[in-house]
């Protein structure tokens, strides 16, 4: 029997962020045979791996996704100290794949200098990519690392264009969504009321404060409106938003769930997903909402417009434009046929981001890198 090749995936944390969650679904797509109406591209892709691949995950801090990762990866290591990282690297992975800028910079130079494994830098919408897009910070070190790795994956073609890595080392994966969790959600129940949902880590940059400021105007037009804010908070933002809601007189219609791993249930209870961020890449939650048939109202920032066309799957407004935000939400809450039409368009658009298809491309790359390394 052929010995399996070990791939080591390195993440900053196992927190419930977009990159971590998408990666978890990619691993899961590799593990689980497809069922229902979907074809089985991943199962057959796995079967084609010479000797197969085993997946180990090394995270530099823990988080609520840890149990889920332990279900889908052969090994999970939480490494806080340099010596712990070294011990994991000494287990001779053939490919080391880093998914965040910080993780990449901490681990990949050591792997490169040792020459013991192929290196892949998975460039998603991490901090350095987001700030580079905005012209706020351009890291020479990040550029150098992208140039030195054996392969680079970008989440979108739009992001790949931001960097000038030689094309022969670039793979564009596409933004992945675990559609199964969302496509089964029924259309909003007329009895659930006019609930909005915002799914985001609670951070000032998500500008949830703008959504709160829009809510009184929405309430004047739609008195039954309410809002669920889903996301973890490490900086006291819940308190600030809660105080603002009190000041605005809307505290009784705003719920904070904190970290919530059952996002489909929260989307299922809502009519519209809203994301008023100051900055984004391509937010997973918008594609999840679209897969669930919910129209979206988001800000025209980052590469959001690569997945949402204004007036088709929902609306895009300028970041900070509270009046426009309120207006578009009211339009969708008061015109059910319009909302249904945009929801259906969203489902069609999201179908092109099936995690299974993305995972197939990803596995092909890992397999190729493993062959080169061995």
């Amino acid at each position: 029997m052929t010995r399996s090749a070990r791939v080591l995936h390195v993440l900053d944390s196992l927190g419930a962020g977009g990159i971590e969650t998408t990666f978890l679904h990619m691993l899961r797509a590799c593990r689980e045979p497809a069922s229902g109406t979907h074809a089985d591209p991943i199962g057959s892709a796995c079967d084609r791996q010479p000797g197969g691949l085993t997946h180990a995950v090394m995270a530099l801090s823990d988080g609520p996704l840890e149990p889920a990762f332990r279900e889908v990866a052969e090994e999970v290591f939480i490494c806080h100290r340099p010596a712990q990282i070294d011990r994991v690297l000494e287990r001779d992975p053939v490919v080391v794949h880093a998914l965040h800028d910080r993780a990449a910079h901490r681990v990949l130079p050591r792997v490169i200098a040792s020459g013991r494994a192929s290196t892949i830098y998975g460039k998603g919408y991490d901090l350095s990519a987001t700030y580079r897009m905005e012209g706020a910070y351009d890291s020479a070190a990040d550029r150098a690392l992208l140039n030195a790795c054996d392969a680079v994956t970008f989440t979108t073609a739009a992001l790949a264009r931001e960097y000038r890595v030689p094309a022969d080392r670039v793979t564009v994966l596409g933004k992945a969504v675990a559609l199964d969790r969302f496509i089964g959600l029924s259309d909003p129940d007329p009895l659930v009321g006019d609930r909005l949902v915002a799914v985001a880590n609670l951070h000032p940059g998500k500008r949830l404060i703008d959504l709160l400021h829009a809510l009184p105007a929405v309430r004047r037009a739609v008195p039954t409106v309410s809002l669920t804010i889903v996301g973890g908070d490490r900086g006291g933002e819940t308190g600030r938003l809660g105080s603002a809601a009190v000041t605005l007189g809307i505290r009784e219609i705003v719920d904070f769930t904190g970290v919530c791993l059952d996002v489909p249930a929260r989307l299922g209870e809502s009519r519209i997903a809203v994301l008023p961020s100051l900055r984004e890449g391509v937010p997973t939650v918008l594609l999840e909402a679209m897969a669930a048939g919910r129209p979206v109202v988001a800000t025209r920032v980052g590469h959001v417009d690569t997945v949402v066309e204004d007036g088709v799957e929902g609306y895009l407004v300028a970041s900070g434009d509270v009046a426009a935000l309120a207006d578009r939400i009211v339009r969708l809450l008061t015109d059910r046929r319009l909302a249904a039409r945009m929801g259906a368009a969203g489902r069609r658009r999201a179908a092109g981001h099936d995690v299974r298809a993305v995972a197939k491309v990803w596995l092909d790359l890992l397999s190729k890198s493993a062959r080169v390394s061995t």
Partner: protein, 401 residues
């Protein structure tokens, strides 16, 4: 007039030097008489892998920093310094903090200043120092989204010690008499450690913590482990000189060397007035001239290496081995090491200097990739520094700054 140096001065200087990556190995400091030098080095190795990387200024923010003064904070004898973070105990102990606020000199971060402002409290000193240029950008973008605490510009307001790499936008509107660049800011990438070290340097005999997160109560420190190790180390250093250390966030993770104690039971002198011993910061013109000198010295080496690099193409592993050895030798020169780490803000060469040579494989493909990695960053940063210095000199030509 400068106050008399404390007994801890030499020890804290070593603490700062190690945390600023000024040494490559323990042999460079093993003859020091500073107590606990061994322990400092052990923390450096175990928690930071011999490279903290917190002193690099790859974005050259030092050129834009508006402070006209440097300074060293001094606390009057008998005063107690309370280092305030934004962890859960700040909020659970807020009423107690309001009651005893006048017993302490409050030191916090920018985020801490916002949290205190929401509680109706004004700190005495706000410390701005970031672990990396990326973190500084994150702080800047967060401030743009949430706004700066109004208390920074209010009168009376806190003193602001802003590290040289602080983004200008964060400090541009502050009253000039309250803003300074701290002469010593030994953070090791963790601002609470810098605050505690500054309290020791400044003569405080009682240092307490509130809301300084260090993991869970069951002793799992997780990613806070480096901070926990630093706090333990600083407590050990201060205890040698009779300083008392208290952890007033008594529901949080335990910190070795810090006695858990309710805030109300920690006593300091009434209304301690923090002071700053100031010195003029070099003018922009003087700083640019200094940068140009540094750059010229580095550029000689870089030109040589560019030639070598271009010459390695197609010449096999021997040529790349020579190039690799040359770059590793730079690490032997303390001046060059510091200039490349701090002024150019390089990350990869400093890492390679610290990897044992046996770890940097003899495989030529790996060596080639490592060379690409190190030189790409070096060349880019050299070009950027040259452009930044030239632009700076152009903009201050004819203007006294």
């Amino acid at each position: 007039m400068r106050s008399k140096p404390r007994d801890l001065t030499g020890t804290l200087a070593l603490f700062e030097a190690i945390g600023s990556d000024r040494h490559l190995d323990f042999a460079e400091i093993c003859d020091t008489e500073a107590p606990l030098a061994n322990r400092m080095w052990e923390v450096y190795v175990a928690e930071f892998g011999c490279l903290v990387g917190a002193t690099g200024d790859s974005a050259f923010r030092r050129f834009d920093h508006p402070a006209r003064q440097t300074g060293r904070v001094v606390w009057p004898a008998g005063s107690a310094v309370l280092v305030v973070g934004t962890g859960p105990s700040l909020f659970t102990r807020q009423d107690e903090l309001r009651r005893v606020r006048d017993r302490f000199s409050l030191v916090t971060s920018l985020r801490g200043a916002s949290a205190l402002e929401a509680l109706g409290l004004v700190p005495d000193l706000v410390l701005m120092c970031e672990a990396s240029p990326l973190d500084a950008t994150l702080t800047l973008q967060t401030a743009r989204a949430a706004g700066l605490p109004a208390v920074l510009g209010a009168a009376p307001g806190p003193l602001v010690a802003a590290d040289e790499r602080t983004p200008r936008e964060l400090v541009d509107d502050l009253p000039p008499d309250r803003l300074f660049v701290p002469e010593h800011c030994p953070s090791w990438g963790w601002w609470p450690a810098a605050a505690v070290a500054m309290a020791l340097q400044g003569g405080s005999r009682t240092v307490a913590l509130l809301g300084v997160d260090a993991g869970s109560r069951d002793g799992e420190h997780g990613s806070f482990q480096p901070l926990v190790a630093l706090l333990e180390l600083l407590a050990a250093l201060g205890t040698l000189e009779g300083v008392d250390f208290f952890d007033c966030g008594v529901d949080g993770a335990p910190k070795v060397g810090w006695l858990p104690r309710p805030l109300g039971d920690v006593h300091g002198s009434a209304s301690p007035q923090v002071e700053v011993e100031r010195a003029a910061r070099p003018t922009v013109r003087e700083r640019l001239a200094d940068e140009r000198q540094t750059l010229e010295r580095i550029k000689d080496l870089v030109v040589n290496v560019r030639d070598l690099y271009q010459g390695t193409a197609g010449r096999g592993s021997r040529a790349s081995e020579m190039l690799w050895d040359e770059m590793l030798e730079w690490g032997e020169d303390p001046w060059l090491r510091r200039a490349m780490q701090e002024r150019l803000g390089l990350t990869f060469l400093p890492a390679f200097w610290r990897l044992a040579r046996s770890e940097t494989t003899s495989r030529s493909r790996a060596r080639t990739q490592a060379i690409v990695l190190a030189l790409d960053e070096l060349f880019t940063q050299c070009d950027r520094l040259e452009a930044a210095v030239a632009a700076g000199l152009r903009s201050c030509r004819g203007v006294e700054v």
